[in-house]
Symmetry: D2
């Protein structure tokens, strides 16, 4: 079975290390898992007042997440938490009340940082939101990626076998998790 996994990248800048990390990770997806970055930079700040007439960017984002089988969040840490842009995308997708597009989609979190602390704070703040959003979230292996610049070579691939092996294991565990929850998503959708 093929899984369509939406990838949310928490940093918006063009040369984002988190995005580069995601690009290096994509070719390591297990057979049948397709990873596609869903952009969040054009979403307006969430405001209930525009809910009656949401912008095309909002509608497109919600539709894209709604048809995904699962979501991978790749996040840097801004000020010991998730970037506002990432949290805003979560808020946009969670509304209107009772129509959250996140509901029941399996999730995985990878936090990415140029430093040693590996965006731990962002990783776990995000997880607290995912509980509310009812997204069964991968526990182990946790993915805290520190010193990320050193992990990538000039072509944007991972330098070390060790990193590739870890990412393979991480995505494999995510694939297994998706499989466990796929059934009841399908039956709910029926």
């Amino acid at each position: 079975m093929a899984y369509d996994v939406a990838v949310i990248v928490g940093s918006l800048r063009k040369d984002s290390l988190t995005r580069k990390f995601v690009n290096a990770l994509k070719p390591l997806a297990p057979n049948g898992m397709r990873l596609e970055v869903v952009e969040i930079g054009d979403l307006p700040l969430y405001n209930d007042d525009w809910e009656a007439d949401p912008s095309p960017a909002v509608t497109a984002f919600r539709k894209r997440i709604a048809r995904a089988d699962a979501v991978l969040f790749a996040t840097p840490e801004y000020n010991r938490s998730v970037p506002g842009a990432l949290k805003n995308a979560i808020d946009v997708g969670s509304r209107p009340y009772g129509k959250s597009v996140w509901n029941e989609k399996p999730a995985a979190v990878v936090s990415v940082s140029p430093g040693a602390l590996s965006a731990f704070g962002a990783n776990h703040h995000l997880r607290q939101a995912l509980v509310f959003l009812n997204m069964p979230t991968l526990a182990q292996p946790e993915a805290y990626i520190g010193n990320v610049a050193n992990l990538l070579d000039a072509n944007g691939a991972f330098v070390k076998t060790e990193t590739r092996d870890f990412i393979g294991k991480f995505l494999g565990a995510f694939d297994t998790l998706i499989g466990k929850f796929q059934g009841n998503r399908r039956s709910l959708a029926a």
Copy 2:
């Protein structure tokens, strides 16, 4: 001594209960404390790529916070954390590196909710960011405001003496905290 306190309201909608709560709170400020809401709804999603040429909204926001003596954060909870819009304002004010406008400003947090849990999750996620931002933050009294709609009368004032007393105590403690840290801000500014 008069303190200029910037108030950040985490919800953007016009009829926000958090904003109504702030409006009810303002007249209860102690002598010499001036509370002014600083708007965050026009800020773009933070992106390092525009840092070379930030929009007027960004520049105005940074200047306004920079001249404040202290900051009061009034936040609802979206998906068990702070709203993306509020986190984005924090991110915008924290950059560029080394020029954060939040640095050393005393802070207080009030979380506001229509329900019983009182936005506890938003309150403490915000506090984690404030540690990094180097903002000495009021501990007690913690301010978890639940069932907020019941606290306000038709004119937008607090119904109960009890609420007014609590807010008076809260703002009084904040005033004392600001006083303790005012000295070294002044000397740094000199």
Copy 3:
């Protein structure tokens, strides 16, 4: 299939409201789910130095958790986090390195409080530990039980149908979660 669910009660005192809540909850377990409180009050504070020769209480606790199919944590909040006694039980069960008895066991969390905030802080601090312990944890329905004294009648049963219905739904969702992960525990054990 019958599930053996170990229940950890975070408060040690005899008349604990959390324990009373658990007693009221037990009769509402779905068919085939057996809930048994596993005591934690005799465990010594975790110290690697006694690991070479752990006390009988430690050994018995580890064995009991090891044979459980899943774990339900019922926790009050002490000082905005989990009680030390509960965290200590988690630490004891997690060691020695590589032999954690928590590994891969499905978990659910219910936080219980005499007040309105419903031990939210304890609930989510506990969840952060469960990620590390590799315990797939129930997301929805979240169980924040506030004003717990009002929920129990003189015989220790729930006063309201509404509470019984919620608990039934909560335990039913937990039962479903256990089912999803039961397979690979069995195959790992084989």
Copy 4:
């Protein structure tokens, strides 16, 4: 003015790296700051039922903290949070209701780890408790000590000038914080 700072070490084992780190840190205290480790390994698990007749260890612990001017918490991370033993000491000191010995004492947190993540999770879980305990807590510099074994030489001193400088700056900032809050503790005690 001389400050009496109680140091709580979160790990109980004899050869604890956190304790070694504290031993290396002690000689770097600024003039007038005296750091003394207060032991927590003999405290019973907190239980309201023994509150009517607490053990001598409990009474001694409470008295020792009560007379301290401030508290430095040095904590490893167990299962992504503070060790149960440390949380238990906090719980013991916080009771009985209204008589918490932690109240209004300035605090600082240093998290210590053999790995890269530097016990970030323990650091911030602890901070959430300190808000409730009404302890004004040092924000910057945050102290996340990773790869701690590499920082200590055969005599238990810090290998690098860089580490000594950081610790000096950390304790200096703590000293300044204590000074700001010392006045009102004194007046409250009068």
